[in-house]
Symmetry: C2
């Protein structure tokens, strides 16, 4: 049985069960056996994390940055092996996805987090020198990260954006790897652990368990020793964890589900409907639609161009080979999801047969009238995670407005409009409604690219996340989730943290000193 990484050591798990991953492209079980940890492993990891959090207060941002950078290097030095494991466990192609996109994204995030840790501005230091009151954000304590199934590297609990953000704030991480890619997680955790040793950080700064019972997961996020939790995954799992954490008064940051509505205004369809059909299919079928930002809900206003567009999307979906889904459960979930949409009034425009020997589901385009969408909004806004998308056909602009008004919170929303200005009269009304429903509003682009930009928001209104003020992507803002606000009032100068003293600390940190942002 594979060992877990607890308190700086690979050690035999306290075993509550075991599991093996499967290769989704062949449906074959893989050889390596992994433990489902019993509570004793969580307990040990929590104690070690508390001690690591205490020790980390004595380390500088520079030292945290050194670890993150060394970790990125270690991943690169084992890149081929890691992407091979990830490919075997997830079915995602080695090239371009894993080797050229996701792995570089992962190391870029780690390096951006390293810079943020070194630079220190994420702490938002505010100094009122006249009254000798000073405050900034400090690490919130041990962070539990639940990684999702769909990014084995860039959102992995032990290597992804949440991990990088938590470490950069000085919080130790207990990663709960996703059971669909345990060997990938193991290799990453080995890289992390080696970087801890070489950079001299506390051994328990990064710990990892492969799997837990649901019960122990709920217990973990509510444990008194935890500072905060972050979770990326399904809405039902997220809401269960949220309830447990909320009850215990523990912050939990969730990225749960999103349909990513896209509005195609009439002029855009007239101008470039065929190209938009291809663009939509390219985005919607990428990774078999298994992105949190996959375009799953398309809005058009009835017209001959709209009809051509819908037919165009359906045609491409029908013609392209189905991608591989991550698991049998995912396949069943998608089939069930599409079934529910059909029961709620959506009509399939594509045939229901899949090709491929792996976990494949036929590429699916559904259509529903805005009237039915408005009547059955809750059922028709259930996520069907994968290569299926639904077009909502609106009789006119008023119906489009009403349909958008009825949307739940989403991560993203996009509006395609005529480049010649033909839609300008409609844009504002549509944008005003959509703006309130999404975290990221786009023009003329698909939501599946989530740039690693300081201005990015990978967040949004409930139930796409648990709180609309936080983002999971975009450094340094994503670090904010793992900060606790600490004020020093009348504290003697020599007892203040260096970054809050009158004399500017070394380095690049921005501070708000008596009302002005200054550096150096």
């Amino acid at each position: 049985m594979t060992e877990v990484l607890v308190a700086g050591e690979w050690r035999a798990a306290s075993v509550a069960g075991s599991f093996r991953a499967r290769n989704p492209a062949t449906r074959e079980e893989l050889a390596q056996e992994f433990p489902v940890s019993a509570w004793a492993d969580c307990d040990r990891a929590l104690d070690a994390a508390v001690e690591a959090a205490r020790l980390l207060r004595g380390f500088s941002g520079e030292q945290l940055g050194r670890f993150l950078a060394a970790y990125a290097e270690n991943i690169e030095s084992r890149a081929d092996e890691i992407v091979a494991l990830a490919n075997e466990e997830t079915g995602l192609p080695v090239k371009p996805r894993l080797r050229d996109v996701e792995l570089p994204r992962t190391t870029t995030q780690l390096r951006q987090a390293a810079s943020a840790a070194r630079e220190g501005s994420w702490t938002q230091a505010v100094l009122d020198t006249k009254n000798n009151i000073r405050s900034h954000f400090a690490p919130i304590g041990p962070v539990v990260v639940f990684g999702p199934n769909n990014f084995p590297l860039a959102f992995n609990g032990i290597s992804g954006g949440d991990f990088a953000a938590a470490i950069a704030t000085g919080c130790p991480v207990i990663a709960k790897a996703h059971p669909l890619h345990p060997a990938t997680s193991q290799a990453l955790a080995e890289c992390a652990n080696a970087a801890l040793a070489s950079s001299g950080l506390p051994a328990a700064t990064a710990q990892m368990l492969y799997h837990l019972s649901n019960e122990d997961g709920l217990r973990l996020v509510a444990d008194g020793r935890v500072g905060a939790t972050s979770f990326t995954g399904s809405r039902p799992a997220g809401l269960h964890l949220k309830a447990a954490a909320d009850k215990a008064g523990k912050p939990i940051y969730l990225e749960m589900s999103s349909l990513n509505p896209i509005v195609y205004l009439p002029g855009a369809l007239k101008e470039r409907g065929e190209a938009l059909a291809t663009e939509t299919a390219d985005s919607g079928l990428a990774a078999a639609g298994q992105f949190c930002t996959s375009p799953n809900l398309l809005f058009v206003v009835e017209s001959s161009e709209a009809r051509s567009f819908i037919n165009g999307v359906a045609k491409i979906y029908s013609e392209r080979a189905s991608g591989t889904l991550f698991s049998e459960a995912g396949l069943r979930g998608l089939a069930k999801g599409v079934e529910r949409l059909v029961e709620a009034g959506a009509k399939a425009l594509t045939a229901a047969t899949a090709n491929g020997k792996g976990y494949c589901y036929p590429n699916t385009v559904l259509e529903v009238s805005a009237g039915v969408f408005l009547a059955n909004g809750e059922a028709l806004q259930q996520e069907a995670f994968g290569n299926a998308t639904t077009v909502v056909l609106c009789a006119d602009l008023d119906e489009l407005h009403a349909a958008l008004e009825s949307l739940e919170g989403n991560l993203t929303g996009a509006i395609y409009s005529s480049k010649a200005g033909e839609d300008d009269a409609f844009y504002d009304g549509v944008a005003e409604i959509l703006r309130g429903k999404v975290g990221r509003l786009m023009n003329d682009k698909m939501p599946t690219g989530v740039a690693l930009s300081p201005a990015m928001n990978h967040g949004g209104p409930y139930p796409s996340t648990g709180h609309p003020g936080f983002t999971a992507v975009g450094i340094p803002r994503s670090l904010q989730r793992f900060g606790t606000l600490q004020c020093y009032d009348g504290v003697r100068p020599e007892r203040l943290p260096a970054a809050l003293r009158d004399a500017a600390p070394h380095g690049e940190i921005w501070r708000a000193v008596d009302g002005s942002w200054v550096r150096g």
Copy 2:
């Protein structure tokens, strides 16, 4: 029956019941009758608030600021009347408390919020011009504010810090006034409503109900039309509201309870024990101890100086006249709270008789050993709100550390130490533990002064609040609670909010443009 302020008009309430306030100094019921609103009032206020939130998006920070400033002026022009009402309803002295401290604090907060609204930096605009990705915080939507009993002006739902912060972000407020000071709230709401009219803001920007059933309060914070809620009050009420809001995925900011631990290190007691006893009593008995930052838990290490200090505090508490509590319920609650502390092992050092014909409770000092405190931590950390404080006597420094480690989250913590350096060897160990337990750490000062400083943190770890990353005092940081993060990705320049365009907007706003904070 007094009318409620809904949708810009004073109108007859949808009445579920009625109540009258009492003068706590005489225990006499006051004449004016106020409604307990039925759900229909909430429903109407919510609809009006949604529409106001929509309209407010078309108003500038300058216009919001004009309203807040006009409101402050209106309060000043009716100052004598307002403080007379507040005095009658709360028993708080007109001078200095209401007229010279709390009313100016209230208008200062409104004016600071006005400046923050005009200046706009609270939005934390981040521009990535290379990728054309831009984000900032925008108003979260209608905000429900539950005001507490203990600040009829400066924390009133219709005039206090939460109100000012929400309005400054562009969020309309539905204030739930506290039933212990309804006429004060009415006068303030009149000032607010007049300012809305004179400044041209939407009529429903500020609405007020006097009282609700608990059931309707729970329904209100979970309503789909609400953006967020803020609450200041007791822990049980706060936790009920939190559960309802959490379940609905609605942000709620809570300030619930705090004992505000104070550590007196040995050298400080040797150096100035007598003065510290007076300073402690002055702070602990101010407003009969009815502050959220009242010093309710004092830690000393056994010594003859510690004994003198305890006796000194007890002597002053015994000699001073008892202040007036806000209500009979408050009096009963305090008596019950002290009883519970005694049952849990604390010993009263003061006599149990009160003077005064109002709601008075004898000034009370309790003592408990650290051993008992550690054994009965939960019971001994129950808040007894009012003029009672507990001294924890520690055998040595190790026991002091252990006692501090056992503390729940608090708003504040203070450490008194020798000015000559005699305690320097002990400070770091004590401060490290206390730092993790409190939002604001002080040296050599009492927690009851909460300066209106941008660096202030009136927040802290659970259960003093619901989330340790937010503060209820300190502008502009307190505005952050009412922001939702909105990103614009690839949006055409002319469609961007002015503050996110490449060209710097007019005025004073600070923005992070391609990695640097710049203004103008």
